[in-house]
């Protein structure tokens, strides 16, 4: 019995609705980013439900306690504004939970009624609701604009806006990693250290959302970028923004307001994108690529060469967020695989253009859609199937119905483990992606090959 039996093969133009979305709303992105600040309590300025939903979704993905507070809007607040709620909330937050920082994001509700976070912060400072030494950052995140990626970017920009340039460069480099897993952030720090670049990474959820079991519940685990570090990011010699959608806004803000020159790169997924990342890092450090890094790169190339015959021509349907998809499609093409269907729910014409460029001259035609959804992707697959699905857990219905292996990669992953611990960025991450892809394809081959062709050695 097919779970998605209600999905017809015939594709029709739709304007008024989304079915099985490949995106979600801004606030959850802002909330995830906020966890990358040390001692930070994310705060949702809206109804209780928003906060509960984001917490549940992040909990399911990270399997970690996700604490965030809410302004608990009621009918009154939605008529008279939520100022009073947020001010009262701050009172309670700082007397009970005692965070170093609260990172407030808005919701469709508070945006529509016109609440202004800057005004509220000013009032909080004047009336002593924001205790001495504590930090308030705020990001507008209307749910009806952009997607969760936009919300993430807006909160990251709010972090950059804490910069207080002293006028003296401190020799450090800001790296804005974009929406990647905590372990990916850890991997980026490791690579930078290997190349010998002193960095400030923000946000940094490493150690926050992949924390160990200690027998104690810590509302604020040890990891995260500190406010002190953020204040100094205006003194950096440069900013590396990984991902146009996730990270560029913050980097450009630092560039124009604090004269910290920025470079926007693709996220370092796969061989070529990691090469570019390492190249920029080593240029900044003024060194050639260290042997240890070259060694890891060589291992990745080695594994590709060992197994390339199994990757050749494999058709892939992939969905997720723009920055991740761009690098991943480039990686797939370099593996001689064919990302034939590419969908993001996040708007942006530039995305479609980039994907077409990556697939240009390849022996397949790519169907790519920004503002797309998974219902339509499934229809494409029904019309012409693929060998592999890559995307979040919501692909498991298609995987089961169409009997296609699914590589879980992206957000959210609700039914498997490991994404918070094993990076997929960098060369090591490339190895892991490759291991997973090969595992799925070869398991399938072993299952499907007729007995006469079943091989022990592959």
């Amino acid at each position: 019995m097919a779970l998605l039996k209600h999905t017809p093969t015939e594709v029709m133009e739709r304007k008024s609705l989304v079915i099985n979305p490949a995106k979600t709303c801004q606030p959850i992105g802002a909330m995830y980013a906020s966890f990358g600040i040390h001692g930070c309590l994310p705060h949702s300025h809206g109804s209780q439900g928003c906060c509960a939903y984001h917490r549940s979704t992040l909990t399911r993905h990270y399997k970690e306690p996700i604490s965030a507070s809410t302004s608990s809007f009621t009918e009154g607040a939605s008529v008279f504004g939520g100022h009073a709620n947020l001010l009262q909330a701050m009172n309670n937050i700082f007397s009970v939970y005692e965070p170093e920082v609260i990172a407030v994001h808005t919701t469709c509700l508070s945006e529509t009624i016109g609440d202004d976070l800057n005004q509220i912060r000013d009032k909080a400072e004047k009336t002593g609701k924001l205790p001495e030494g504590k930090t308030f950052i705020g990001a507008p995140t209307p749910s009806y604009v952009g997607s969760h990626v936009t919300g993430f970017s807006n909160m990251v920009k709010a972090m950059a806006m804490l910069a207080e340039p002293s006028g003296k460069k401190n020799g450090k480099v800001n790296i804005i990693p974009g929406w990647v897993e905590p372990c990916d952030m850890g991997e980026i720090k490791r690579l930078a250290a290997m190349v010998g670049v002193d960095i400030t990474l923000f946000p940094d959820t490493d150690g926050v959302l992949n924390a160990p079991l200690t027998g104690e519940y810590k509302m604020f685990p040890d990891g995260g970028v500190t406010v002190k570090e953020l204040k100094r990011c205006g003194d950096a010699v440069g900013t590396l923004a990984l991902g146009e959608w996730c990270s560029a806004d913050a980097a450009r803000w630092l560039d124009s307001k604090c004269k910290v020159p920025c470079t926007v790169l693709d996220m370092p997924f796969g061989l070529a994108a990691t090469d570019r990342f390492i190249d920029v890092l080593r240029t900044v450090a003024g060194v050639s690529v260290p042997d240890a890094v070259a060694f890891e790169r060589g291992q990745l190339v080695d594994m590709i060469s060992d197994m390339h015959q199994y990757l050749y021509g494999k058709r892939v349907a992939i969905w997720g967020d723009p920055d991740q998809l761009i690098s991943m499609c480039e990686f797939l093409v370099s593996l001689d695989m064919q990302p034939v269907y590419v969908v993001t729910g996040t708007p942006g014409k530039k995305f479609e253009k980039r994907i077409r460029e990556i697939c240009e001259g390849q022996p397949f035609e790519v169907k790519v859609k920004a503002k797309g959804d998974m219902f339509e992707m499934h229809q494409w697959i029904k019309n012409e199937p693929v060998d592999l699905l890559i995307g979040n857990t919501y692909g498991k219905y298609m995987a089961r119905d169409e009997d296609i292996p699914l590589l879980r990669w992206g957000f959210p992953i609700l039914d498997r483990q490991g994404h918070q611990y094993f990076p997929t960025v960098g060369y090591k991450g490339g190895l892991r992606l490759l291991e997973k892809i090969l595992g799925l394809l070869l398991d399938r081959k072993d299952r499907d090959d007729p007995e006469t062709q079943f091989e022990l050695v592959l």
Binding site: L17, S71, Y217
Partner: protein, 460 residues
């Protein structure tokens, strides 16, 4: 203790220490890390198991995404409820209104999927921009010839409780349209069961053996046609404190159908519920009491030896629970007694004064009773009471684990049927599995305790 907000002190009570006067059903304090959700959430979880209806969320994308098949409400037939439909409101819609978009979406979806009815959920933003969802629904209903029902579930209008009411109001409009000619005089509707992990199928099987016709499932594995004719049933059985009680009351008023509050969790409550039904119908069906006794006896004969086996390991272990509706807590307190376990904390998101008074009655002295708890409070009491297993929902699971304490999801994410007699066995097994897991030996705080216990045993 500093982890309890001054304003929250009257929402926490120690059983046996004076008259209970717990403050509840009040709005969560702004700034609290509350485990509560919104009106939309309440409506959505109640209605979404109706598998052959279209469920269209009118709002920005998030509300649809976060409620996309989250509850594991199983269907034996259609799966339309597992898809996520959203009008994905954009900035221009917020400015100019979303009615046209809603209408176009309904037009397209009803034609393509031929649902038996459509529910249109209003979200916060719809309440603010003032779309006339009622009018659009009326128009589409006339055009398509199926019930198109607005659900007034704007998130900010309260907590889940108000959402339950909105869902009940929407369903109530469905009732009365269906043919009741083949409904038996010995018949019930099952209210407030959502068929998580196939639970309603267990309960329906009991009723089948008793000779009771089940007219409608409200709403687990639910069908529009069944709900439309559920006014033909002789009795409504209401489980789950808040979710469907309003609907039962509406039906009592309009159709004169009585209701009984039941629970299918735990041994006594399951058996009592079946006996209540047998008792209700004994004049119409004299053999029913005997059949029910036989059924219960047979089930218990299979269950009790198994439970006894597990009780040997679980005797004296401590439990904390934080549940949505407090009615569930009543059943769980009794269920844990069968396992020899001691309940040291009971909390609820949506309990009423009467609920808490009853909890105070059935719990041991010293038990913490708490309304609308936050993670710091839960963590504090788990440590203070040295709890072995925590029963809660998705957001509490990692907190329990970080503290090195076992966990049982008795909420949306239960993966095994916990209702009925076989559900009690599954429940006991799940508790046993978690409490007895060797992993806790590796948790520093618990490991020390194990050492201390051993020392005490030696000294004795």
């Amino acid at each position: 203790m500093s982890t309890i907000l001054e304003e929250r002190k009257d929402q926490i009570h120690l059983s046996g220490q004076g008259a209970i006067d717990i403050a509840c059903n009040r709005e969560s304090l702004a700034g609290a890390v509350s485990q509560r959700a919104c009106v939309f959430c309440g409506s959505r979880v109640v209605l979404y198991p109706i598998a052959d209806a279209l469920h269209l969320v009118h709002g920005p994308i998030g509300c649809a995404v976060y409620t996309w098949d989250i509850r594991g409400a199983l269907s034996s037939g259609p799966e339309l409820h597992r898809l996520s439909f959203s009008t994905d409101l954009q900035e221009t819609d917020v400015i100019f209104g979303g009615e046209k978009k809603l209408e176009a979406a309904l037009d397209e979806l009803i034609d393509r999927h031929s649902p038996k009815a459509a529910f249109v959920y209003s979200t916060c933003i719809v309440g603010i921009i003032g779309d006339d969802v009622e009018a659009v629904c009326r128009k589409m209903s006339e055009k398509k010839g199926i019930p198109v029902l607005p659900v007034q579930s704007e998130g900010f209008k309260g907590s889940k409780r108000e959402g339950y009411l909105a869902a009940c109001k929407a369903m109530f409009r469905l009732i009365g349209g269906g043919d009741t000619s083949d409904v038996s005089p010995v018949s019930v509707n099952i209210f407030g069961d959502f068929n998580l992990a196939g639970e309603i199928w267990i309960v329906r099987e009991y009723f089948r053996k008793m000779g009771v016709q089940v007219v409608a499932n409200v709403t687990g594995d639910g069908r529009v046609r069944d709900i439309a004719r559920c006014h033909g049933a002789a009795l409504n059985l209401v489980q789950c404190s808040g979710a469907t009680l309003d609907l039962a009351r509406m039906m009592e008023d309009k159709y004169d159908i009585p209701y009984e509050r039941v629970s299918y969790l735990g041994i006594e409550d399951m058996a009592d519920s079946l006996y209540k039904v047998a008792d209700f119908f004994k004049d119409r069906d004299p053999g029913i009491v005997e059949r029910t006794q036989a059924l219960v006896r047979e089930e218990l004969e299979a269950l009790m030896p198994e439970l006894a086996r597990m009780r040997r390991d679980l005797e004296g272990r401590k439990v904390a629970m934080y549940v949505g509706g407090s009615f569930k807590a009543f059943s769980l307190v009794k269920a844990f007694r069968h396992l020899g376990m001691q309940v040291v904390l009971v909390g609820s998101q949506t309990g009423t004064k009467e609920d808490y008074a009853e909890l105070e009655q059935i719990t041991d002295p010293g038990t913490v009773i708490i309304d609308d708890a936050n993670p710091l409070e839960l963590s504090h009491f788990i440590k203070e009471k040295d709890v072995d297993v925590f029963v809660g929902g998705v957001k509490e699971r990692p907190i329990a684990f970080k503290l090195g304490v076992g966990f049982c999801d008795h909420n949306h994410e239960r993966k095994e049927a916990l209702e009925g007699f076989e559900g009690m066995l599954n429940f006991a097994r799940e508790i046993h599995r978690s409490v007895m897991s060797p992993v806790w030996q590796f948790v520093p705080r618990r490991a020390n305790r194990a050492g201390r216990n051993r020392k005490e045993a030696v000294n004795e």
